[in-house]
């Protein structure tokens, strides 16, 4: 499978995740977000960039609790609020949607 952005074709796996991490750019992210019916706002972008930075550093997508804790400390929320905030941005879950838009590989595990 593949997606086309501005005349360039990018390879994706059968679930629509980018195959090559380095193919990612903001236009590609925009296109992936459209596929998930998500309108990217400032908060979406900041999360997507957090995910990419984390992945660059650790070569693995962060656990959800890492994500909610980061949101909680950045925005002065408690963990419960942070979780609701996160799912407000990505209704089908950070693993499914945020990682896809950030161009990270499909998370594994039995979620």
């Amino acid at each position: 499978m593949s997606i086309d952005v501005k005349g360039v074709s990018y390879e994706t796996d059968e679930n629509g995740y980018l195959v090559n991490l380095e193919d990612w750019n903001e236009d590609v992210a925009q296109k992936l977000a459209e596929g998930e019916e998500i309108e990217m706002g400032e908060e979406h972008w900041s999360l997507v960039k957090f995910l990419r930075n984390y992945y660059d550093e650790y070569q693995i997508a962060p656990a959800v609790k890492v994500l909610t804790k980061a949101i909680a400390s950045e925005r002065g929320m408690d963990k419960k609020e942070a979780s609701e905030f996160l799912y407000g941005l990505f209704p089908k879950g950070p693993a499914l949607q945020a990682c896809k838009i950030a161009g990270l590989p499909k998370p594994t595990g039995c979620v």
Partner: protein
Amino acid sequence: MQGANDSAANGACQCGGGCGAESDGAFLNPTPMLDQLESGPWPSFVSGFKQLAERTKKPMLRGVLDQLEYSYNTKMGYWKGGLVTVDGYGAGIITRYSMIKDKFPEATEFHTMRIQPAPGLHYNTAMLRELCDIWEKHGSGIIALHGQTGDIMLQGIEQDKVQECFDELNQKGWDLGGAGAGMRTAVSCIGPGRCENACYDNLKLHLKALKHFVGQLHRPEWNYKIKFKFSGCPNDCTNAIMRSDLAVIGTWKDAIQVDRDEVRSWIAERGVDALVNEVINHCPTKAISLKRGDMEIESRDCVRCMHCLNAMPKALSPGKERGISLLMGGKNTLKVGVNMGSLIVPFMKMESDEDIEEFLELVEEIIDWWDDNGLDHERIGETIERVGLKQFLEGVGIEHDINQVTRPRDNPYFKAKY
């Protein structure tokens, strides 16, 4: 049965051609390996699958049987996981994609929806009928009551139909269960609803606790899974001590209540021999003695094993000062081997709403500690084992107590004759 007759009347395959079954008019393809499973003395899931497939003519069911037959021949499983959720939820759907969908296109997707059970499994028939109808409309129609997780397992649905199926179920009052690294679906025994041994209202506590943690059930974000089970008494019919991280088991503080008249009529009927051989000799802590032809229980020696209460249900019943005990750390083999729960909170009253509040606050505290100190993929019992019980107790602010027992039970399956 009615369904099976219907399908015979309907006749030929409705797959639209290509399934290879048209020639002899049968809907299902031959499955000689699976048929073997039907020959034993017990009911077989294969018979259930076949009946349902013949009645509903759902190609998905045929595909799954074909793929399973192939699995038996090649001694390999061909399901792989993935990610499917409904809006606002991060858990509750267990994905199953076929790894050999080119061979068995009808079995391409066969996802499971976990649905939370009612406390004590008390349903009314109207709700169950609605559940069945909705499920057969959107999914395969296969239901496992209940899976090992305690959920109602609705097995076999395609990704595209998951949201609409969930919406309809949710309208009728059903909700998805837990999966992944979060709070899981809880289980409770039949409780005071239908059992005289229940020492607290475990059905109410189950409902309140799960409502309290519903966010973390649908949006998993902890180290790993954590499970509640609520047993009304130490008979522990949910096997909480072995199969849950947070085992809430009913208990009592004072003496076993003895109805002397009933004891006498039990002895009159069964004889003193039975009292000695089946009751007194089976007491693990020798707390019961025979005195002038009657029984006497030394309460301070009793470990609440429930044997004598089970043997003499009319004569003996749990004490008057009832509540719960909280055991923690039960789980199957993971990083370390199988663990049974250790008794962490020996006794807590569980009568008023304030008692429930206090309990939930304690559990919040416990989970917070585990969230901060546990490693990824580490159950709470393993965390406690790694850092030490002392550190855990200090971390959550539980006082040391002589009544905290590391191994309150050795064998959850033991059942004496009575």
